[in-house]
């Protein structure tokens, strides 16, 4: 539990001359469940996208296992540090197109059993594989999108409000899944949430306001 997996050193991000993130520094240890909260527009998604290397910081540095994230091959890095979007959209035609994509990019055969297993873990079932992405609900899309990130082992999951489109029951299913991935499979999780109950679950909690860290709490 003690090795730092991420070290953020004075991260700043500007877009259109607007300071969106300022002086963000913190360390994440291997296996932590980091919860991040803050008002809308405080820069939470931007921070996760920078950690996911989908955006580049304006200044500052992020180390992943002691090496600058910019020194990793982006596609390899993103397979290890997997970002799940706040409002994901599915691609292709069917749910299966989405779940087979991670196999395609690794030039591997689609593992239908594993896909069905994960569908069931998030309260869906095998019948969803052939469903059109236009015929499933927002909450179902959100769960399919989350599964895309879980088909292969990752070191880190970056979750951006993954329960916001879900009802109480399904949120609970996803929360349980996150805890299980974190505790049993030792995946480090950075979880952005507006839900105070979810926020409290973090072993490491970060409150952001206007692009800055306002409060940080370690267990």
């Amino acid at each position: 539990m003690s090795q730092p997996i991420f070290t953020l050193q004075d991260i700043n991000f500007e877009a259109d001359q607007k300071k969106i993130l300022q002086h963000i520094s913190f360390t994440v240890k291997q296996g932590e469940l980091v919860t991040i909260t803050g008002p809308s527009g405080s820069g939470k998604s931007t921070l996760l996208k920078i950690i996911a290397t989908l955006l580049s910081e304006t200044s500052g540095k992020i180390l992943f296992h002691d090496k600058d994230i910019n020194q990793y091959e982006p596609t390899e890095y993103r397979k290890l540090v997997s970002y799940c979007f706040q409002t994901p959209s599915l691609f292709g035609d069917t749910v299966q197109d989405n779940l087979s994509f991670p196999y395609e990019i690794r030039h591997k055969e689609f593992d239908q059993k594993r896909a069905i297993h994960l569908l069931e873990r998030v309260g869906l079932d095998a019948s969803y594989l052939d469903k059109s992405i236009h015929d499933i609900s927002g909450g179902e899309k959100q769960r399919v999108a989350l599964i895309r990130n879980l088909l292969f082992e990752t070191d880190v999951l970056l979750l951006d409000e993954v329960t916001s489109a879900l009802d109480h029951e399904n949120s609970q299913i996803i929360r349980d899944l996150i805890f299980q991935l974190n505790q049993e499979e030792n995946i480090t999780v950075l979880w952005v949430t507006h839900n105070p109950d979810e926020f409290k679950e973090g072993t490491h909690q970060i409150k952001m306001v206007e692009g800055q860290i306002q409060e940080e709490y370690h267990e």
Partner: protein, 253 residues
């Protein structure tokens, strides 16, 4: 050749057609008057100039001059196609390679098959035909690609986030861009002869060539256009998609 001759007097009388267009513009208040006028003047000037230039080149029958003309056509086509990229990096070079290679390949196939002879009066018009179609097709491909990158921005980002390479994240966009660029020439090939008699064939028949001979040329032209549009847009798409990303494999704004 039969008596194929339009006198300058006939041309002047034909200008009545432009006057009709100007009258329509005036009556319907289209505000196109200036455009129609300029278009008409440009048509006359450009075609007269190119007519005399071609006439000179055909008589000269010099390999270098012919090649220069071919190059001139291709460069112009590339400049025009590049305008439709919506400002991507190296738009001109990409278009030049795409249209140049696409045109060259078609020309070579036509030579090898014996469908075309190495005389300026065949090479120059055929190059013009191929390059202008390649230009339009490449332009359509660029526009489709631009639109797709806008519409499917989120999907591309999600694929990148899953660890896809930029090519894997863009594959459907590239496919769609090539498809939409090729579609018009495929459609045209399907309806040719049913809806319109194409320019090449009409021209040959005008000049008194037997329709059965004229169609052979037209068949060659149709095949050539399908191949060139496909090949040129494939090259253009595969070169252009990279400009939507930076070297960190991030999708640009």
């Amino acid at each position: 050749m039969n008596s194929l001759n339009i006198s300058n007097t006939s041309l002047i009388f034909a200008s009545v057609l432009i006057v009709i267009a100007l009258l329509i513009d005036y009556k319907e208040k289209l505000g196109l008057g200036k455009d129609i006028f300029i278009a008409a003047i440009r048509t006359v000037v450009q075609l007269f100039v190119i007519g005399y230039v071609l006439s000179y080149i055909f008589k000269l029958d010099n390999i270098l001059v012919t090649l220069f003309m071919v190059l001139f056509i291709i460069v112009n086509a590339a400049i025009n196609a590049a305008k439709r990229t919506g400002g991507i990096d190296k738009a001109f070079s990409i278009s030049l390679i795409a249209i140049g290679v696409g045109t060259a390949v078609s020309l070579i196939v036509l030579f090898v098959s014996g469908a075309l002879e190495w005389t300026p009066s065949q090479i120059v018009p055929i190059t013009g035909m191929i390059a202008s179609n390649a230009m339009t097709a490449v332009g359509v491909g660029y526009r489709s690609m631009n639109a797709s990158f806008k519409d499917q921005r989120q999907q591309v980002l999600e694929k990148l986030a899953l660890g896809a390479d930029i090519k894997q994240a863009t594959a459907p966009i590239i496919r769609h861009s090539i498809k939409s660029a090729m579609a018009p020439s495929i459609d045209r090939a399907k309806t040719v002869g049913l809806v319109s008699l194409p320019g090449m064939m009409s021209g040959l028949m005008f000049a008194g060539i037997e329709p059965t001979t004229a169609i052979r040329y037209q068949i060659v032209v149709m095949f050539m256009l399908i191949a060139t549009t496909g090949f040129s847009t494939m090259i253009a798409s595969y070169l252009a998609y990279k400009s939507y990303f930076n070297d960190r494999k991030q999708l640009l704004d």
